[in-house]
Amino acid sequence: MNGTQMELATLAATLLAATSASAADISANIVDAAGKPLREAVVYLVPAQPVPLAKPKHVVIDQVDKEFVPRVTVVQAGTAVDFPNHDNIRHQVYSFSPAKTFELKLYSGRPSAPVVFDKTGLAVLGCNIHDNMIACVLAVDTPWFTQTDAQGRARIADLPPGKYEMLAWHPGLPKPISQGPVELTGSIERSITLATGAMVGATTDEEHHEHHATGS
């Protein structure tokens, strides 16, 4: 075995050790400033070193009884989102958010093209016809994200061990908040407090009136 072969063997062994190391997982408990569990909060981990990512799958935001379902969606940037419109009536979905600006007219019985959320960031969606329809789409630069349940709990499993930045967000915040770097090995638990306000994009009736009076 010459020097180069030795090096290759060492490299192979290192790689083997890295891949055979058990995957990490992280659990988070998210509460608001008053200590109340926050549902619909988002937790995600951005790897410190960029890693090649698979093309994300399609995601669905449905329209059911004049509401977006789900109201909060996290996607990997580049994800195509379908709006199937189970209401089977007309909707006019729009977003003025810089992360994704679009208008999508949905008609009864007419399928629509998916909307690709190609940039990271938050898009707040509304419907011109139904004022109370509001949804948030947060596009992130990682496939490792999740949302909290009704008890404010979230868990991301099968993470490759390594260094990440953890971020958290809730519809009551204008943007995600960094929770600092985390080095993942084995199982990790974190408690997060988010000082949230009213859901972003929720406007008063007067504001809506002004918007429509000048914008249509």
């Binding site: 009884d65 004049k66 209401d87 089977n88 009536i89 007309r90 007219k105 008609y107 009864s108 019985g109 011109n128 016809i129 139904h130 004022d131 109370n132 329809m133 809506h208 009136h209 429509h212 009076a213 249509s216």
Partner: protein, 148 residues
């Protein structure tokens, strides 16, 4: 030559007469105000607003208005009525068919709304002729609105 000139004279007279009639016709049509002008822009938008308020609160028709942005419909309906009555507005909204698709509007619901419109116009003292003209303009959309 004389004969021909006589014919020519008669022809000229007929032509002058015809021209005068056409001119009279034209000036009559220019002078006759559109339905939009006769109802008046303010009264028309008041009618649109009240029709939306009444239809969305009347238990016989409120079903299809649930969760709908009423102020937007008021704006769009005002533009629509202005455009079909010969006003200066250009309606660029969806077709009546697209707007009502999937709402399963019944004939009874449509008739209730027509009755409301009639009542509102009477309250705004729109004369019978204008009321009938507006209803006649709206009547053909029944086939696009009533789907059940």
């Amino acid at each position: 030559m004389r004969f021909r000139s006589k014919v020519g004279f008669a022809g000229v007279r007929r032509a002058v007469c015809l021209a005068a009639m056409i001119a009279a016709c034209h000036s009559a049509s220019a002078a006759s105000p559109s339905l939009y002008e006769r109802i008046g822009s303010e009264r028309l938008s008041a009618i649109a607003n009240e029709l939306v308020d009444r239809s969305s609160s009347d238990p016989r028709t409120s079903r299809s208005w649930r969760k709908v942005s009423l102020h937007r419909v008021k704006d769009v309906l005002t533009v629509y009525l202005c455009s079909i009555t010969g006003g200066p507005c250009v309606y660029e909204g969806d077709t009546m068919k697209d707007i009502h698709a999937g709402l399963d509007i019944t004939e009874a619901e449509m008739f209730t709304m027509v009755q409301s419109l009639r009542d509102i116009m009477i309250r705004h003292e729109v004369p019978l002729r204008e009321r009938n003209e507006l209803l006649a303009l709206l009547a053909p959309s029944k086939r696009d609105v009533v789907t059940k």
